[in-house]
Amino acid sequence: MSAAVTPAPPGSGGALLEASGVSIRFGGLKALTDFNLSVRQGDLLGLIGPNGAGKSTAFNVLTGVYQPTEGEVRVAGQRVNGWVPHQINHLGLARTFQNIRLFRALTALDNVKVACRAQGALHPVVMGPLAKAGTAMRNYRDWWRALLLTPGFQAEERELTRQAERLLEVMGLSHRRDEEAKNLPYGEQRRLEIARALGTRPKVLLLDEPAAGMNTREKADLMVLIRRLRDEFSLGVLVIEHDMKLVMGICERITVLDHGETIARGAPAEVRSDRKVIEAYLGDSYLESHGGAA
């Protein structure tokens, strides 16, 4: 978990997360059509659109919850079609959830430790049957180490605790270390979810409506925080958000979805004045009465 001292310039290096021509159909319903996206280290991208536009579907395809009907998703250069979420996560893709999904009965610290642990060096994802068998053996051996409380195991536990404590500190949650997640106030639960996602040592962080339910002040703090995390952990960040001010304020590029189709992409200023976007958000009648793009 080495944080870069100087942030890499935005958009440098190859794409860490790339979706090309991704479509997904549920029966006759086209939830997403020809979706393209590329996230590189240092990027801060926004994904917006009216309700039901397919934003969360896009997230679910990227993270492996749904499989694309067409097109392909690449994480760190690796094609991940057909992979399950935890394997994709091991390649460096972590997410938060729109409606907070913490491990409610676990302490804040344990929430983060779960994520840290899952990233042990024991999970080479790309492997043949032999390597797979080897991993299975190691997994069982790992349980023996826990049962016998070997020194190596205890050292590992201490290391996990240390990592998790550090992440709690970064997110300003140190004082909640031993509090059960369900007892945390709403804003702190959102922050804990981000801390947990960071525990998996991601290269790309997907935030699903991180500002939902926050007040103006909390939103402003969140904007600063997201930027800081990107720089400190050298991440690429993709944000789904309803709040225009937040998106326009921090995102360098924005993709706009409507009915599963990408209707616009570009810098905030371009997107804001795009006719299709205004139409999607405010309706035709608004355009007619106001005479063209705002």
Partner: protein, 356 residues
């Protein structure tokens, strides 16, 4: 980013009890006491029998708790795995009856063979657990319940129709190798394993799966792998419990491993609190002794031999009422996910809040 010195581990190394003993200390104390009690009660074969049954039920409840409690899956076929263990261990012992390890005294040789038979039963049950768990644990929800229910019935029917297992008549003549000491040695082992898992990173992953499977998967937890492993461990100990059982009852037949037995174990786990090992132990003791208590109670009340004999028949309704009352009054079970020492009165030394 410098890590401040303040974050160097506080509660994990501190504390009066060394980590190697933590969580199993009560059992370490309890097991010799039970064995001692057995020695003192040596004159009463019934006491020995009862202690053994309690022990076997503890093993069953604590092992089922690993799946139903910690991992949040719902298995209702534990008696099936117990049956596999009982029959495999029983047949192994019958086969090895005439064998003696010449370099050991007879008693020691018997115990070695007994252990071999037990392990054979446990491994067979674990293998069944793997085969049953692998397809059904890939899915979420109630599939495991359905599959384990089916598995339990299949095992019973297979045994009923297999000559080598004595069909419906059952297996008799299995050497009575078991002793209270042996049973409680395995009680100790299962509690050790359950507590060590609960306190380790593996346990945290299991808790995470119980809390939110989707989130656990998204955080990189191999949910299927963890569920299968938990299920295999749980099945192994069910097999051991069956093996022990087979070596102290005069006869094992398919009637001992019915769905009713599975439900009995589930009731123990739910009553004790899903996720609490000590809760499972307390509930197992209570529910095993309850019929005996009722029997003596009715006997003492002079309600006549008839009612006292009916205890076994009214046992299930009593369980049912007990569960309904529990669900209304305390849906999380007696202890919830806490352990005995977490719910003890204040004046007793307490553990720090946290998972282990």
């Amino acid at each position: 980013m410098a890590v401040p010195g303040a974050t160097t581990l506080s509660d994990e190394t501190a504390g009066r009890v060394p980590p190697a003993l933590r969580g199993i200390l009560p059992v370490l104390i309890a097991v010799p006491v039970v064995v001692l009690a057995d020695v003192l009660l040596n004159t009463s074969p019934f006491a020995t029998y009862l202690l053994s049954v309690v022990g076997v039920n503890i093993i069953l409840a604590v092992s089922l708790n690993i799946v139903n409690g910690m991992t949040g899956q719902f298995s209702i076929g534990h008696a099936g795995f117990m049956a596999v263990g009982a029959y495999i261990a029983g047949v192994t012992s019958l086969e090895l009856k005439e064998v003696a390890l010449s370099f050991l005294p007879v008693a020691a040789s018997d115990q070695v063979l007994f252990t071999v038979a037990l392990l054979a039963g446990g491994v067979a049950a674990a293998l069944c657990g793997f085969l049953v768990g692998l397809p059904s644990l890939r899915l979420r929800g109630d599939y495991l319940a359905i599959v384990t229910l089916g598995f339990g019935e299949i095992i019973r029917v297979v045994v009923q129709n297999t000559e080598a297992f004595g069909r419906a008549l059952g297996l008799s003549g299995i050497p009575q190798y078991s002793s209270v000491a042996m049973v409680y040695f395995w009680v100790f082992l299962v509690v050790l394993v359950a507590r060590r898992i609960a306190g380790s990173s593996h346990g945290r992953s299991l808790w995470a799966i119980r809390e939110d499977e989707v989130a656990a998967e998204a955080m990189g937890v191999d949910t299927t792998g963890y569920k299968v492993r938990a299920f295999v461990i749980s099945s192994f100990f069910a097999g051991i419990a069956g093996g022990l059982f087979a070596h102290f009852v005069p006869i094992i037949n398919p009637g001992s491993f019915t769905f009713v037995k599975s439900m009995e174990i589930v009731v123990m786990v739910v009553l004790g609190g899903l996720g609490s090992s000590t809760g499972a132990i307390v509930a197992a003791i209570f529910l095993t002794l309850l019929p005996e208590g009722l029997r003596s109670l009715f006997g003492a009340l002079g309600a006549g031999g008839s009612l006292a004999q009916k205890v076994d028949q009214i046992r299930m309704p009593v369980y049912g009422i007990l569960l309904v009352v529990l669900m209304l009054a305390r849906p999380q079970g007696l202890f919830g996910t806490k352990e005995l020492w977490d719910v003890l009165p204040r004046w007793l030394p307490r553990k720090k809040k946290g998972m282990s």
